[in-house]
């Protein structure tokens, strides 16, 4: 019977004590994973959204920054407008490589095509666009024709229909973008030509017409030339133009991020406190167990076990409890999170995206590793004490 087998038998033989440590590890591992998933999920969601947008700078009408961020973050439609001539002004800024206009629209209330009642629509110029077009080329192998659209992950064709009807105009849904956990997931992307045609036909076919002001755009997507400092270009836009405000991509959703940071730091601090308390409880448990097992360990020493063996035995028992408890705790927390991720995101009222597979695997491994280290530290001093105890005295106890 080797060390591992002896450790397992000792664990199963002391049911209550082992279960206490096991449950402690399971609880703390599950809790830490949950808070980490919330934190990482939010960060991952925002990062995915910014990458999806693809622009270095988004130029919006002055004063409309919050509206635009809210639309992109939460998918709530908004109408913001600025003159189309601003496009040329931005293009003339040194360091700007490409500019592309976008028009923000919203569906009527009660749209049947989406997970939300009002759908956010973004019309883009296929000739200059660099945000959606690369995805189109990669996934469809072509641009969007008139009457076609692509949607975020929550945009769908209603059952029984062949297309999506908006303002009395039928659009085909030719693809869905990857999830970002933000409002982009419930956004429809179509060309400006399609939007204008929809607006024109809505006068006669829709309950309410779709209004697109003449010679107006909502935002300008800006790509900066390679090697040029994005921040400098943004400053120049601000100084050389009026009525517009540049939002640098890393600063996108800045207001929301500031609010979220407070909450996330709170989660993090709570996790640390709970982890410390759990570690202390486990240390007390191991210390009590070591006291209780003094004579048992003395007998082991008397029949030939070395002090090193006793030390390894105690740590092996701790390690087994740590690994199994952590795996089960993390598995239960992950399953719950995975199955109810949408409900969790909705209740948290913040963007949330389940991390990538490799990222999640890393979290899993880190969780098990942290549990192992924590339990090993909790068991270390009792293990040292019991392996070095005076045998004759221990046998008398």
């Amino acid at each position: 019977m080797k060390l591992l087998k002896l450790a397992i038998k000792n664990i199963t033989g002391s049911g209550f004590r082992s279960m206490a440590i096991f449950l402690c590890v399971m609880g703390i591992a599950g809790f830490l994973l949950s808070t980490t998933l919330i934190i990482r999920g939010s960060q991952y969601s925002l990062t995915s959204a910014i990458e999806r947008l693809g622009a270095d700078i988004i130029v919006v009408p002055q004063g409309a920054e919050d509206k635009v961020e809210s639309a992109l973050l939460m998918g709530k439609p908004t109408n913001v407008w600025m003159p189309q001539e601003n496009l040329a002004k931005i293009a003339a800024i040194p360091g700007v490589q490409v500019v592309s206009p976008q028009i923000y629209l919203g569906s009527m209330y009660g749209a049947s095509c989406c997970a939300v009642s009002e759908m956010f629509m973004v019309a883009f110029d296929p000739k200059t666009d660099f945000t959606i077009t690369p995805w189109l080329i990669k996934n469809l192998g072509r641009d969007l024709a008139k009457g076609e659209s692509i949607g975020g992950t929550y945009v769908f064709v209603p059952e029984g229909d062949t297309g999506i009807k908006l303002y009395g105009y039928y659009l085909t849904l030719d693809g869905n973008l990857e999830a970002t956990g933000t409002g982009i997931d419930q956004t429809m992307f179509l060309t400006i030509d399609t939007a204008e045609e929809m607006a024109k036909s809505s006068i006669t076919t829709a309950l309410e017409p779709l209004i697109i002001p003449q010679d107006s755009i909502s935002t300008i997507m800006v790509k900066v030339a390679p090697g040029v400092d994005v921040h400098q270009v943004a400053i120049q836009i601000l100084s050389d133009t009026t009525g517009m405000y540049p939002i640098e991509s890393p600063n996108l959703f800045g207001a929301f991020r500031n609010q979220m940071n407070g909450l996330l730091w709170g989660f993090f601090a709570l996790s640390i406190v709970i982890w410390i308390i759990a570690a202390m409880m486990m240390a007390v448990n191991f210390s009590m167990a070591a006291n209780e097992r003094k004579r048992e360990m003395a007998v082991l020493r008397a029949v030939g076990a070395s002090p090193g063996f006793i030390f390894r035995l105690v740590l092996t028992e701790a390690g087994i409890l740590a690994v199994t408890g952590a795996i089960i705790g993390i598995a239960i927390a992950s399953t719950g999170f995975f199955l109810f991720r949408n409900a969790i995101a909705a209740s948290l009222k913040m963007p949330f995206l389940f991390p990538s597979f490799s990222s999640f695997a890393g979290l899993f491994g880190a969780g098990v590793g942290l549990a192992l280290v924590t339990v090993a530290l909790a068991a270390l001093i009792p293990a040292i004490r019991i392996s070095k105890q005076e045998l004759a005295i221990a046998m008398r106890e």
Binding site: M1, K2, L6, K9, N10, T12, G13, S14, S48, T153, N176, E178, A179, R295, E296, V299, L300, R301, A302, V303, G304, A305, S306, P307, G308, F309, I328, A331, T335, F338, L353, F354, S356, F357, E390, L391, A392, M395
Partner: protein
Amino acid sequence: MANYTAIENIALWTSIVLFYVIAVIFIVRYARLKSSVRHQAPKLEDSGSQDTVSTSVKTDYTVTGTGNNATGQEPSTPRSVPINLTSPDWARKKVSSKEGGNTVVFDDVTKHFRLDERTTITPVRKVNLEIGRGEFVVILGRSGTGKTTLLNLAAGLVCPSSGTVYLDGEDLSAMTQEQLSEMRSRKLGFIFQFPSLIPALTIKDNISLPAMFGDQDSEQASERALDLLKMLGLSEKADVFPRQLSAGETKRIVVARSLINQPQLILADEPTSDLDAKTEQEVLHLLREINETGVTFLIVTHSMQLVPFATRAFEMDHGELTEINTRKFSGVPAELA
């Protein structure tokens, strides 16, 4: 998951399902194990003592004389050993040892224990004792006279404050803890006064425990453990736990454990305490049988019942040893004459 590939989704779902299936299997098996253990009613009476098998070994001991036994009654009449003695050769062959020589030597050994700044006790005081191979030495004494400390010194569990203890010619004080552990696993067997079985292990595992630290592999150790259980008439107890044994059975299991590594020396601390007279005799006869295979015994006890079995006996009082005449306590068994 929109942002996972199909393979990643399959892997994730497969892991989740597998995890829960394995968890359910473990829970069901654990519940069944617990249920079967609960339904094994603890035996309050010795059950292994009913087998009687004729053997070629003389087993009649006559206990007479003026010494009182532990119950203060007249010494019991001779009886045959009610234990299955068809033990395999390996357990009954003589332990290989050098011709003559001493197993344990106490050379002017004293041991102090400092209880606090002002109080020091000396349970062992200038003890000189040489125990030869194959001897069956009994040390008598009341509680608190230092007997257990003497045993612990012989095992290297404590170091002497002065003097030297030699085991097989080696100075125990000069050994490291690892060397002492290795020496104990190779040369010593222990029969403790207190219940010393590991509660979490079955009887078979308890018996084969010392073999973990010896040079037997687990299969060999397991077989030997079963052989020993058979020898003691406790084969059916292999898979029960210590809490399900009676005191007599526990003592016999401890004896079996002490034999698993075929030690040269067995140290026994009150081996027959907590036993009724009948069981005490059975255990004593068993120990004597083992002694006849060449194993040296050093036994400490307060029971006079062991003296007739001894080759030499001593009395320990206030840490000092005085040899006593064993013949005063017995009609000496033929083998011991």
